[in-house]
Symmetry: C2
Subunit: 567 residues, 2 copies
């Protein structure tokens, strides 16, 4: 039982739900918390507003999100044994600001609050019509914008003062992606495809009446009345970043929005997310602007239980490691390596003593191991690594290394995953992985296994994975995946011998399908059992011509499927 001294009530430090900026007072409350060793930071129920002006600034490398100098409202750096209890409070963030960082901390519990942004990082518009030259849309009041010089730019809505100059910025909510959502069903539109734009902030338009504009972009298509979601051109402000920490618990936390992923855990030991929600607020179509959760080079356990993950602009989770590419051998026991994916730059991959595996770049064959003796970080991208012993003789530039570690045990149970862009779960973890009693309604694959060492550089390859008692509810009504369960791998050479995912059991699940939806794709797998699963037909969507069979198995060994093609 907690004594009064263990509890620090933020109201005692002028953190008040009064509409003012709580950031500076919270900063003092957190300092006090650290000094006093309080174990609970308690928020009286209310709406707390946080602005970036007086926030602490930290340069963060956040895997699969964007690095940079961030204003962080809750910088939980070097804390031990702390619970932040919102008692049902709403935390509302304003502008370009990062809600939570948990770094070099242990035994942290986050509970009973919601996270939202006043002005989300994405924007939305209603489709009015289109032809081959462009699309007419109307932009709701909630998403401020301006048109200048033929360019549409989403803004904070604050008025720019004076003419444009070399230092004009205002606050631009830059966009680089569009995707159509079904306004009625509140999910990605049937078979909608992504529109990506190379590094831009603005779109070419013609201003029309009121809040209507003509997007002067050829070949956009969509259904009038549907919602065009403009994804941000960055992932600068994920909701929660966990790095080099341990025993982190989320309990009854709601994430309405984040400028990037909802929760990103990296190099962290034991993470539990229970009874949480990722869900949009204020009638918005989108919740987080990237994955709901995502875990990189974590250890111990990862538990996702009893959660709702909906309407995020990417997968519900992805659990993987990182491959660094070998640039060249610089001595018999020395290699130069590069973090190739720009959202992996700066990742704290190696320590002296770290065990690494050597992997071929295009065939993903793990052909040797080594121990890091020392390394020299040249910059966020390159490292010179000295090994305890000589590197394998067969090592060539373009091969990759990744760490051998205490791969986490993964439990994904009793969650609802729906209406987001892309896939449900990406399972790329070598620890025991159990996925049970979940309901999936995803436009892409509900469950994807991948991993490659030449494009995304994500280390995967399950070794013990059970998928059971789940309901797959009309999945694959979009374009992201070949089958409801899609077991892939980035293997482009030596397919006959390379086996990446192993020992997958798919049992007692129910697949509700609206057409001859491919159920299972299996590529370069050793050991997979499909047993006692039920397939039911629905009329949820129009059927679509499918290129693949219900079961598609290639370059695999020891695959057992207990049923015939059900279609």
């Amino acid at each position: 039982s907690e004594s009064k001294a263990d509890i620090l009530n933020v109201a005692d430090y002028d953190v008040l739900p009064d509409g003012g900026d709580c950031t500076p007072a919270l900063r003092k409350a957190l300092e006090k918390c650290r000094e006093s060793g309080a174990t609970t930071l308690l928020f009286p129920e209310g709406r707390y507003d946080f602005h970036p002006d007086l926030a602490e600034e930290i340069y963060l490398y956040i895997s699969n999100n964007d690095e940079g100098l961030k204003r962080v409202v809750f910088p939980l750096v070097g804390f031990e044994n702390l619970k932040i209890d919102g008692q049902g409070s709403e935390f509302v963030f304003h502008g370009f600001i990062s809600p939570f960082l948990v770094e070099d901390s242990s035994n942290i519990t986050l509970t009973n609050f919601s996270v939202d942004f006043d002005r989300p990082f994405h924007s939305e518009a209603i489709i009015i019509g289109w032809d081959e030259d462009g699309m007419e849309v109307e932009i709701p009041q909630q998403f401020p914008y301006e048109v200048r010089n033929g360019l549409l730019t989403f803004t904070s809505g604050e008025k720019e003062t004076g003419p444009l100059t070399t230092v004009s910025k205002g606050t631009v909510y830059g966009s680089g992606h569009m995707l159509e959502f079904d306004t009625e069903k509140r999910e990605t539109a049937y078979m909608a495809r992504d529109y990506y734009f190379k590094t831009t902030a603005s779109y070419p338009v013609k201003k029309l009446d009121g809040r209507k504009v003509l997007l002067r972009i050829p070949n956009l298509v969509g259904t009038p009345g549907n919602t065009l979601v403009f994804g941000p051109n960055h992932r600068k402000h994920p909701g929660f970043v966990l790095t080099r920490s341990s025993d982190i618990t989320f309990e009854s936390v709601t994430i309405h929005h984040a400028g990037g992923m909802g929760i990103l855990g990296q190099l962290t030991h034991n993470i539990s997310i229970n009874n949480c929600k990722v869900t949009p607020s204020n009638g918005r179509m989108l919740s987080t602007t990237a994955d709901a959760t995502h875990f990189v080079n974590c250890t111990g356990y990862i538990k996702l239980t009893n959660n709702l993950f909906e309407n995020q602009k990417d997968d519900a989770t992805n659990i993987h490691g990182i491959y660094a590419q070998v640039t060249r051998k610089t001595a018999p026991n020395q290699i130069l390596i590069q973090l190739k994916h720009r959202q992996q730059h700066g990742f704290d991959l190696l320590r002296p003593g770290t065990e690494v595996e050597f992997v071929t770049g295009k065939s993903l064959i793990s052909y040797g191991r080594g121990i890091v003796k020392e390394f020299n970080r040249i910059n966020k991208e390159y490292m010179q690594v000295t090994l305890e012993e000589e590197a394998p003789a067969e090592l060539v530039p373009g091969d990759a290394i990744a760490t051998i570690r205490d791969y986490p045990e993964v439990t994904i149970a009793n969650n609802i995953i729906r209406n987001n862009r892309a896939r449900g779960m990406l399972l790329n973890c070598r620890g025991k992985t159990v996925v049970e009693n979940n309901t999936f309604h995803t436009p892409g694959a509900a469950i994807l296994f991948e991993g490659d060492a030449f494009f995304w550089f994500e280390q995967g390859g399950v070794t013990d994975c059970v998928i059971r008692n789940n309901i797959f509810e009309n999945c694959l009504f979009g374009v992201w995946g070949k089958a409801i369960i899609d077991v892939k791998a980035g293997i482009h050479e030596r397919k006959e011998e390379s086996r990446y995912n192993r020992n997958i059991r798919i049992e007692d699940n129910t697949f509700r399908v609206f057409d001859d939806t491919p159920l299972l794709n299996v590529y370069c797998v050793d050991g997979l059992t499909w047993k006692n699963n039920t397939v039911e037909k629905t009329d949820a969507y129009s059927p679509t011509p499918r290129k693949f069979d219900a079961f598609n198995v290639t370059y695999s060994d020891n695959v057992s499927i207990d049923t015939k093609n059900p279609y």
Copy 2:
């Protein structure tokens, strides 16, 4: 005389002019230089190429340029007594890379080399024609670009592999500014105006034949055959950054290009730039993409002698201090202050013991002083400052502070300044300032005095300034300034009493003018003498209707002009 041990020849460290990337070998040579205490780093004559891949990475705050994490090729941090002698070498930089940083160093000489970029940060196109909806241009081979989804994006020319994804970047040479140059005269086009675009990287276009595009931007105008210069949307990579250093000498250095200013000195004591050039290479219209040189909160002396500054995208120099805005008084001896201009963020303005002046925000009256006792940097933008004594009673939010310091003595002599965008010199330094024997051919004011505490936040106000024996050659053929010598100040209230610039003598200069060009504008000045200057008429350009008289004097005291309106 130098002993052999004092000279480190880079060739001995495999820094070779062989077309390969010299960055990593140079890094080792510089380490060796530091260890050995060598006083000369010698380059055998040749072309040395530098790529960013293996460069050292440093987060830099660079006043009037863009902060950020930079790859720095010559990181001269903590060096004493070093000469870098290129012996006539060319240093060619590739990609997003910062050539030189001189930080916490003293007695550094840079000599006998040129700096250029393989692919400049700006781009150019030839104007073919225009109407009210847009302008047709043709883009020379030297400036790679692509058109995708109706957007023109300048690129590095490297082929993007695969489809666009969330991590697609390639190398984008983003632009946010356009300005027409006269192709024949190689200067900004007669009376051309800037086109600014809010935070963008790309422009709306229609692709035409070959390397032609139609810029779908209303109201662009220009003369067919002239050159439209696309300025970058950043100032990330100035050529030379000098910070907290002393006794820095440039001798016979040529800067062909930089992604920002050529030389930016901040908080540095004694800078000499002699016999140097800022001039474009390879037939390009632009040299540096911002000012040739620029000095902020420097001390000691600044000498610019015998230089050529041409075709830079902004002024030849600007010498000033920084005002921080007072957000509020937080205790009788404590204030919260903000660096308002985003390109001043992170500036290392104060130390315990620093003397500061208090200034009214809109009238620029310096009404009190104080000494900094301690300060707490909240982030790059805000600081909490505790003073030795109470702040002045009249202090209100919106006032500003700046430092009182050993303002530098400025000598600007025997330079040629021409064909750049905007002005020649911005003289905003309280130390003795002598400008003599220079030739100016600038589209804006040749010499501007300004300073304000509410927009640019640049501390100025000369106290002893002589401008003599200069030739002003057909200046003001563009739009940047009210007179050839324009003595302004950001004073919007209390004009009757506020006097900002003092004791200016303009003597024995020759003004060649192509029309009734205003010679002198004087606003809120105490003490100015115009004596023995010659005005000659030319027919260099068509005359233009001028709004101002030859001499325009308002809200000033002790102004003496020895001649009548010459027109």
